[in-house]
Symmetry: C2
Subunit: 213 residues, 2 copies
């Protein structure tokens, strides 16, 4: 494979053959109200450079066989905080193993998509889909569960501090230099800032999910 | 001074005697809709610990005499991006020196407040004031300027990636160990995530500033 083919091949890399509810690149995913031109301005706003692109890809190679452990770490923080854990519980506050397993696979796939996907219209559409699945517009539908009606925007934004902080040791796990780890982490954080900006859209949009802060 | 007195004294440290429009702790600041109990849950959501508190204070000591340079660096990125710079321009796209100077002082003071202030009701109120000043509810009023009606939420959130990334070299400027710099930066990033969660409130609230994404 030439470098372009290698990137194309990595772009669609998946953590499992079947990922229930993972509608990336399909007509079932929502259509983003954000245009590629808007996205370019957002990339400039987080100062996302070609170097970041390169190090984000390196991060993906480092994280690819660690996604299960990474998600376990993040979910450990959620589980330790009842005010966060409640959003994934079923009726009467009981854990829902099926919901947890399926959304866990998608959470793992999100790591690969963050690192490997081209940030194009399909990516924007799936960002919008992810955003809506946190709001009352689409939460619980994908997995046919009865759980909290939405996740408040403030927790979606605030929790990404844990996402960014807890991923760093995993970036160091493959003997890269401190400088490389630093650059991978910087690129990761920029992408996550870009994504929480996109995820905030339906919450700030009176047509979608106002008053779910 | 004993340690408690030293903290109390640092909490109200200011970058200048007079900071126009800086209404921290006064009745002119907005009243936050967020309660101290809500804030505690947000602190848990970003995993803000006592260690972070300590390192954030250390960061304040490191940054206190560098605030002018830090803000200059941040504003350099804004100035290089017309889609961001437009929000601080006056009529006909002309720079407004008075607006720039006064908001620059408050931007510098924000660094100290982030590091030294107790995160209490006064702090919550001023967070709400800051948030409103980015929206159509209060933008331009404080400085009596004619500028863009609001700053879109997506840029407020996305630009904090630059805030966090560009501050790191300044944290290394006083010969602290790499481990200390890392811990100061981690604490800083957690606080900024907490703050963008708070700043998103009026944008997600149909009573304040919906549809300003």
């Amino acid at each position: 494979m030439n470098p372009k083919q290698a990137l194309d091949s990595a772009a669609s890399r998946k953590i499992a053959e079947e990922i229930p509810g993972y509608t990336y690149g399909t007509p079932e995913a929502a259509k983003s109200p954000v245009s590629p031109a808007d996205l370019e301005l957002l990339k400039k706003t987080v100062n996302f450079t070609e170097e970041d692109q390169k190090y984000l890809h390196m991060a993906g190679e480092v994280l690819a066989d660690q996604t299960e452990e990474v998600v376990k770490r993040w979910r450990g923080v959620i589980a330790a905080n009842p005010h966060l854990a409640q959003y994934s519980l079923g009726p009467e506050g009981k854990p829902d193993a099926h919901y947890s397993a399926d959304s866990g696979l998608r959470f793992r796939q999100w790591i690969l998509d963050t690192c490997f996907r081209r940030y194009d219209q399909d990516w924007l559409n799936y960002q919008h889909e992810i955003a809506l699945r946190h709001t009352s517009v689409k939460k619980n539908q994908t997995d046919h569960v009865q759980s909290a009606a939405y996740i408040p925007l403030r927790y979606v934004i605030a929790f990404t501090a844990v996402i960014n902080d807890a991923i760093k040791p995993f970036l160091s796990a493959k003997r890269h230099s401190e400088d490389e780890v630093e650059k991978m982490h910087r690129a990761w954080c920029k992408s996550v800032h870009l994504q929480i900006a996109l995820w905030s859209e339906p919450y700030a949009d009176s047509k979608f999910a106002p008053d779910e802060w």
